[in-house]
């Protein structure tokens, strides 16, 4: 059974240090971790470093698990494709990298199952270029799941989806994490969805981790102000779920943050999580 612990992880993009000093507690299998932070905070770079796609410092500790090419799978942000390939072929492609050219019947059956679970079986014969942004995201998820990962790093998998599909996908990924006992990290912008569907959250700002812990501890008014520069707070809705109430951009606190909150400062929730 795989566990994940990051120790002093860092990486550069050209000469710029885009991620540095990211250290997490041990992340248990069967959990979904929201990786949150503003645009260009370093979430994608962190994922690429953890997946081994970018060089850098630090240690990615998988416990006693012996990693292979599919242990840690990174699902990049969707960029579209002009390839003359069907959905089905593109999923086969993900499964077969580095193996024989022949596709076995059991491999086809597995792909059928994954497409059916994502409710995109009817898209199987469609060309990638004919898909909507949301459909492409679901195909990308299928391409990742078919590799049977132990650690799954999903870079904004819900960004092109409508609200219904977002909730469906997040709920599905939570079920996958629990059902297959794997570790799922999801870079996500919607903090309410993080609160609702994720077990814990990792907040990133300027390439550094500023908080890690249960979502309700990490996502609070301090985080909204210090990381997102917005005024707001978290309260319980009528169903007892925490949700965010925003008041607006926090210009004053933004300037206060720039002077008072250094890169190494951590919100209280993060300190508690450590």
């Amino acid at each position: 059974m795989v566990t994940l612990r990051l120790e002093d992880i860092g990486t550069r993009y050209g000469k710029v240090q885009v991620v540095s000093g990211v250290t997490t507690p041990t992340i248990q299998p069967g959990t979904v971790t929201a990786v949150i932070g503003p645009n260009a905070a370093g979430k994608s770079s962190l994922f690429r470093r953890v997946a081994g796609l970018a060089q850098g410092d630090g240690v990615v500790d998988l416990g006693s698990h012996r990693p292979d090419r599919n242990t840690i799978c990174y699902m990049p942000q969707d960029t579209g494709s002009t390839a003359v390939l069907s959905v089905y072929e593109s999923v086969i492609l993900a499964a077969k990298q580095g193996s024989s050219l022949r596709v076995r019947t059991e491999e086809l059956a597995r792909i059928d199952d994954i497409l059916a679970a994502l409710r995109i079986g009817d898209l199987a014969g469609r060309n990638l270029g004919e898909l909507s942004g949301g459909q492409r995201q679901l195909v990308a998820i299928a391409q990742t799941l078919v590799r049977d990962p132990k650690v799954l790093l999903m870079d904004e998998p819900t960004s092109a989806l409508d609200l219904h599909r977002q909730m469906e996908v997040l709920s599905f990924m939570r079920d996958v994490a629990k059902g297959q006992n794997i570790i799922v990290l999801i870079a996500i912008h919607d903090l309410n969805h993080a609160l609702q569907y994720c077990d814990q959250a990792m907040a990133i700002r300027d390439g550094r981790m500023v908080a890690f812990g249960p979502c309700s501890d990490v996502i609070d008014s301090d985080l909204l102000r210090d990381v997102y520069q917005v005024d707001g707070h978290v309260e319980l809705n009528s169903m007892g779920h925490p949700h965010i109430v925003l008041r607006g951009p926090s210009d004053e606190t933004n300037s206060r943050h720039n002077t008072a909150v250094g890169h190494n400062d951590m919100p209280k929730s993060a300190m508690a999580a450590q």
Binding site: G14, A51, L53, R69, N70, C73, Y74, M75, P76, Q77, T79, G80, S81, T82, A83, V84, L85, S86, V87, Y88, E89, S90, I92, L93, A94, K96, Q97, G98, S99, L101, T105, L108, A109, I111, D112, D113, L115, A116, A117, L118, R119, G121, D122, A124, G125, N127, L128, G129, E130, A140, Q143, T144, R147, E168, V169, S171, F172, D175
Partner: protein, 353 residues
Amino acid sequence: MTTKQLNVEAGSVHYKARSLQRFLLLLTMGGALFLSFAIDLATGPANYPLSDVIATLLDPWSATDQLRVVIWDIRMPIALMALTVGAALSTAGAQMQTILANPLASPFTLGISAAAGFGAALALVLGVALLPAFVDFIIPLNAFVMAMGTALIIHFFSRLRGVTVETIVLLGIALVFTFNALLALLQYLASEQALAAVVFWTMGSLVKATWTKVAVTAVAVVIAIPLFTRQAWALTALRLGDAKAESFGVNVQGLRLRTMLIVSLLAAIPVSFVGTIGFIGLVGPHIARMLVGEDQRFFLPASVLCGALILSATSVLSKLLIPGAILPIGVITALVGVPFFFSLIFASRRKSW
């Protein structure tokens, strides 16, 4: 989300049917290629009855010397050269389009053919050997060195930050103009005999094919195809974009570099032997893509067969258009092939790039 199993069989059933259809298409193309090859052998300025041609093919030593020489030493090398050159150029174009993610990429449009032609002209006009150790093969080696150098320039340029598909094509066009200007300069300086040899490239012709040239070109194709086949999944993944391919575990930079090196080999050798035939490397892969898509397990053999078929059929046409004369094949490929290609594009309802 539920895990309700809707149309569980639909995807794989459709995939299997599509794969079978593609396999049959490849077989049909193979059959058409054999037919075209046979017609290519049977036609020529000297009008021999079909029965004599077949008899000579089956038992060369029973035929007259003249017939044996015409069939085995003239027509056969030309017909085989059409197959191997067509296959090489089309495969080179297919993989350039794949690794550069660019439908305009081909050895011709990116200046690789022009560079190879210039390298060969350097040997013919000035006697310059770019690899002095192998003076016996000065022309093809010069062509290869120039083509490979140009392919590497394009490769490293394409890796620079901020370089787009459009700028790569612009670089290719700039290289075409540069090498054409240098070639024109060499032509200006050349002796009458050397000038005739240089002009031979710019027209593109199969008539000087020999068994040795056929063998060298065939070896290049036979080496390249298994190397590409081993990378079929990775090359196909490149068409999903670098980030996606990397996330699948593909070493994108290494694959591009290796592919570009093989492509330069495939592009340089035919050009050094038969001159500049521009149409095949661009259009062969496009027709293959329209027919079988971009799964390299089908796309690669389809590109090989398309290129070979187009050039073989053009070779036949070049002999039939004006009876008794053989027109330069590079001229025919463009004049006949381009309208054919456009008719395919407009007839195709599916997006093919």
